[in-house]
Symmetry: C2
Subunit: 239 residues, 2 copies
DNA sequence: CGACACCTTGAAGAGGTTCAAGAAATGTGG
DNA sequence: CCACATTTCTTGAACCTCTTCAAGGTGTCG
């Protein structure tokens, strides 16, 4: 084992189970290690890629936190998602070999660069990788269905509750608390994602605090009553 | 050429350019013809697949018109899209081998059934098909970004104008008029898709009619002033 | 410490929803 | 082929949620 190669080997990565297929043979895994050649650090506030840039690679997030956003011609902006360690960004670029959204680091981050040509090459040879790529793409479609449901049919409280539950659940899957989280984004970014104005997000937080559902100190949020949040999202199912 | 096989051969299909990859060698195309083994007719009002059903295949629409919709646990419903000839449905099922939405025929329809296992098998061998599948998935992600922008940041008039322009553009690509269309869905379904109530859809149509932008007779819509619709969507760019 | 970005809160206003009623189209069965 | 039931669409009026505008407070970073 060459110590220099360890640094970028998927087989040694603690996020392996989140972003790579499982159940590969050792031989297949060795091939996969060639998938990621380079890592890249992205400073907070800077972009990993931008709308209009040529698409070459998918990016697996190793550390840090991103938002992706699209813009309409007249400058309107919509956050389409927030991504954290183990998640893959750049899928939007495949269809026209151009990125159609911006990926902005909300904290200092590091990503593994996976050249898409290589992904396609390997997934012709490693069935498990092929499955995995298809699932990643499909998962993103299903996630967006959920966002459409949120934007199309929920009221402000339901949106914010859904958002908090989703965030904390993903963080928990990464070993963090089930009840405490630090928001990496501003109220305005939350609002953009949820189709609300920043004032509405702020007010809704305040209402949750009044009701004793959460504690909020700026970007530190502690969930005091998860069941109440679920109840807000899903008024019927009271157990 | 066996006359019986002609019926389900992609190489003879007039929608080929819409749903299949271009630039394949004749040999590759022959393989592709094995992709679709069966067609299926779906009566208006019935489902092609439902939330919770096992996923086995993608479906290329040959004729007819579909809506796809997701439901939340408490019965809320959200139309996630409308699909027409040449488009592919079922992508949501890949990630968990289960469909997560319903596909309902809004008029009598016929689809080509493409078993996904076979798609994966062939796309390991035919690079052009592999690219194509990736692009179809990515295109759906990008489309949904657009819907999120619509739902998150547009007002009722902008949403409906965007919707009409999108529909007529897709119909035009299939050889229909640039200015006339027949809606296959109810006001309620349009509203669900656009995050509006059916009354709001109706009122917004009426306002467009008052302003001389469109003519509406039930589900028959004639666009009188495309530029005005564009202006509504994109107030800045008056050229 | 001061500048800047971010967050909170209030009051007024707008856009969309809800509820209700009636009209128009569509489908069904005799 | 017509009469009736049903679904779909339109329109009005009152209401409600979220937005807009405004001001002040809090936190952070050079």
């Amino acid at each position: 084992m060459n110590p220099h190669s360890i640094k970028v080997a998927c087989s040694n990565c603690n996020l392996r189970e989140l972003c790579m297929p499982v159940g590969l043979s050792p031989e297949e895994f060795n091939r996969l290690d060639e998938l990621v050649t380079v890592r890249r650090k992205i400073k907070r506030g800077t972009t990993l890629f931008r709308n209009g840039e040529k698409f070459t690679s998918l990016y697996a997030i190793r550390t840090g936190f991103f938002k992706t956003c699209v813009a309409s011609e007249d400058g309107r902006d919509q956050v389409t998602g927030f991504q954290m360690a183990g998640e893959v960004v750049g899928l939007d670029g495949i269809v026209n070999d151009l990125h159609t959204c911006d990926a902005v680091a909300l904290e200092d981050a590091e990503v593994c660069i996976m050249p898409f040509e290589r992904i396609e090459e390997f997934s012709r040879e490693v069935t498990g990788l092929q499955h995995h790529i298809h699932k990643i793409l499909s998962r993103e479609i299903v996630r967006e269905h959920g966002v459409m449901l949120l934007l199309g049919s929920m009221r402000a409280e339901e949106r914010l509750a859904t958002f908090l539950l989703n965030l904390v659940q993903r963080l928990h899957a990464r070993g963090f608390s089930q009840s405490e989280l630090v928001l990496r984004m501003t109220r305005e970014e939350i609002g953009s994602f949820l189709g609300l104005k920043l004032e509405t997000v702020s007010r809704t937080f305040s209402r949750f605090v009044e009701d004793g559902v959460v504690e909020v100190k700026q970007r530190h949020v502690r969930i005091l009553n998860t069941e109440a949040l679920r109840e807000i999202v899903n008024p019927r199912a009271s157990t």
